[in-house]
């Protein structure tokens, strides 16, 4: 050191310099490795989550069906009103044609009919109502089997388990195997998962009601929080005087964004349902509740994007004689739009996954038809997952995972749209 100061020259190749160089490289390498480690852990967790969901959930994407030839006996169906008919008997008769030996044994008969889903009779009825000319004909139907047989067919029920611990007795399994041998059993894609509403029977339960409920709730949430949020943000950022009051409002909004969602649920329960007497379980009310949560997110995102617009653009517009309002709406807002949209979609994606506030306003009811309007009772995707996760039937285990996968795919889609919008509308100046 003294030598260097003496000669007033730094030795760029000396050992002290080399040591410092090595130290710098080492610390940079450590940092890189730590970063890589953090990312691998994050990805590993994500992979585990998705893998476990897929490994249990994929069973729910297929459903065991049996192809049966049904004689639509005119004696059992009222031709004038096909809605009324003894379709249960028709189904029993159909199965009896496969197993003629049990025709007179009531107990055996009951075992036999338990193979088919309880909904089978209704799907046949619906077909007949749609086309009454079918009465008197023999028609081939593909009907879902009930949950235990579905589990059996998917290999989820262990045939080695002692009979008394098994849901299906040996005889029932034998019956099913006979049908299988005759080539009547198939396992097509489970479209009911999307096209049916909820049901007590797992083989019939679907997400239609939840998806439509979530859609209405998000739509309401968007229509409320987007204009109000942007309006509030524009006012606060561009027009409000900067003083103690606006500081206080700013702090409050930031705090509001961090309030646990269950609190908003309680608020909605007390105010929307309690004071205003709005309907329980309605997606509209759910959307209003979610809007309370999304608002701060949108306000914060909008203010940040407005702030990020370079001041030179404002000056340019002011310089040619634009009013404050013309500057904001003609120049600043369009430039801030990509950021605002991204923030909004991320806020909505959060709202889509929000469960607690919807539980509090009763969107976890058991509702077997999809809502026709936002004011009808409905569930939402996360609350449907909650309900299914709580159901004792084995079939709901895989359906819960499948529903989570559906929810995740909606989330990924929304985030994808956010990224797309950001890239598409990103402008340089």
């Amino acid at each position: 050191m003294t030598e260097q100061t003496a000669s007033n020259k730094f030795d760029w190749a000396g050992p002290a310099f080399k040591a410092r160089l090595n130290k710098r490289k080492r610390s940079q390498l450590t940092l890189k490795l730590l970063g890589l480690g953090a990312i691998s852990i994050a990805f590993g967790m994500l992979f585990l989550l998705v893998a476990s969901l897929v490994s249990t959930g994929y069973h729910a994407f297929t459903q065991t069906h049996i192809e049966v030839e049904v004689f639509l006996d005119p004696e059992q169906i009222n031709a004038d009103d096909p809605n009324r008919g003894n379709y249960r008997q028709i189904i029993t008769d159909t199965l009896v044609t496969q197993f003629p030996e049990v025709a007179d044994d009531r107990a055996e008969l009951r075992k036999l009919t338990s193979i088919l889903s309880n909904g089978a009779q209704f799907s046949i009825r619906d077909e007949v109502v749609a086309d009454p000319d079918l009465i008197g004909q023999t028609v081939t139907f593909k009907v879902p089997v009930s949950d235990p047989y579905d589990q059996l067919n998917k290999g989820l029920m262990d045939r080695e388990t002692p009979e008394e611990f098994r849901r299906l007795k040996n005889e029932e399994i034998a019956n099913f195997d006979i049908l299988k041998e005759r080539g009547m059993v198939s396992k097509p894609l489970n479209t009911a998962l999307i096209t049916n509403a909820d049901s007590r029977f797992p083989e019939l339960a679907g997400l239609k009601g939840a998806i439509i409920g979530s859609f209405y709730a998000l739509l309401t949430c968007f229509l409320l929080s987007f204009p109000i949020g942007i309006g509030a943000a524009i006012y606060l950022e561009e027009f409000a005087p900067k003083n103690k009051v606006s500081d206080l409002i700013e702090i409050n909004i930031n705090n509001l964004a961090a309030v646990p969602s269950v609190v908003f649920g309680l608020l909605a329960l007390a105010v929307f349902l309690g004071w205003f007497g709005m309907p329980r379980s309605a997606p509209f009310v759910g959307g209003m509740t979610l809007a309370l949560m999304t608002l701060p997110t949108i306000i914060i995102a909008t203010r940040a994007s407005l702030k990020a617009v370079p001041p030179s653009i404002r000056e340019a517009a002011l310089g040619v004689g634009a009013s404050k309002q013309q500057v904001v709406f003609g120049h600043v807002l369009p430039l801030a739009m990509p950021g605002i949209l991204t923030g909004t979609i991320i806020g909505l994606a959060q709202a889509l996954g929000e469960t607690a506030p919807l539980l509090l306003i009763g969107m976890n009811a058991f509702i077997t038809s999809a809502p026709a309007t936002p004011f009808d009772s409905a569930t939402a995707l996360p609350t449907q997952i909650f309900i299914w996760a709580d159901s004792p039937e084995r079939g709901f285990v895989s359906r819960t995972s499948a529903a989570i996968l559906v929810l995740l795919s909606f989330l990924i889609m929304m985030n994808g749209i956010a990224i797309f919008l950001r890239q598409k509308f990103q402008r340089k100046w």
Binding site: R314, A316, A317, G319, V320, G321, A322, R427, W429
Partner: protein
């Protein structure tokens, strides 16, 4: 070329366009402009020179009340344009800025098409009754901004896609599209190459036949080339104001002398 223009320059004794009396500007606690008094003549180019941070931009921005848009900024004193107090209640700052045009130090075109950049001002002030008239205004402004030939085939392309120098000329064209009587230019050539600078200077020379032009510049040569009057600012004070020739050849104040000879700055 420069000398020729210097010879051409005639200091016309015209009416006073802007009078400023006891102007003080504070940014919070910073006293940026101290008791400035100045009379700026019509149809003249006035140059503001002075070391960095001395308040040239600040004073320029007082003249179109651009400082109103800065929260911490306080402007005191009397500024009159054509005898009318610009801080009078009856004066709308937005209206004022429409006829006191401004060109900023950094080129700041709107991220819109070249055409819309120019058409924006005339549109919001309703200067054109028809599309044809607007087209005409746009073409005229771009021609006067010495950029028409370069952009006439791509008027629909974004103004931000132009080079820095082209952007600055676009901004000048934008500022004159609304036909202001006063044009404030804050270091308009700091981003330009010598050729574009010469074009802008030619433009200024032409503009001053109709307008009063005030230009802030760090280039002594530029001030000497384009202006008839020069004001020298130092630490917020207007130290000396007079004919450009006199300021550069026979400065009265020692501070002016040391600045133009390169000792302060």
């Amino acid at each position: 070329m420069n000398d020729m223009r210097k010879i051409e320059r005639d200091v016309k004794m015209t009416d006073t366009k802007i009078t400023a009396r006891n102007v003080n500007v504070h940014y919070g606690d910073t006293h940026a402009i101290k008791d400035v008094n100045v009379d700026i003549a019509d149809k003249t180019v006035t140059a503001f020179i002075g070391p960095s941070g001395c308040g040239k931009s600040t004073f320029l921005r007082c003249l179109n009340r651009m400082n109103d848009t800065i929260d911490v900024c306080r402007v005191q004193g009397d500024i009159r344009i054509d005898g009318k107090d610009i801080h009078d209640k009856s004066v709308d700052p937005v209206q004022l800025r429409a006829h006191v045009g401004m060109v900023f130090q950094k080129p700041n075109p709107f991220p819109k098409s070249i055409y819309d950049n120019i058409a924006y001002g005339p549109r919001i002030h309703g200067l054109a009754k028809s599309k044809a008239e607007l087209d005409e205004i746009v073409e005229k402004a771009l021609r006067r901004g010495a950029i028409w030939d370069e952009v006439k085939d791509r008027l629909t392309q974004s103004g931000t896609g132009l080079s820095g120098g082209q952007q600055q000329r676009l901004c000048i064209a934008r500022a004159i599209a609304t036909e202001p009587d006063i044009l404030l230019m804050d270091e308009p050539c700091s981003a330009l190459d010598p050729i574009a600078t010469a074009q802008v200077e030619e433009l200024i020379d032409e503009l001053h036949r109709d307008y009063s032009v005030i230009i802030v510049t760090h280039s002594m040569q530029q001030a000497a080339r384009v202006s008839q009057k020069t004001a020298f600012f130092h630490l917020g004070n207007l130290v000396e104001f007079g004919d450009t020739d006199q300021i550069f050849t026979d400065p009265k104040d020692p501070r002016t002398e040391s600045y133009i000879t390169g000792r302060i700055g």
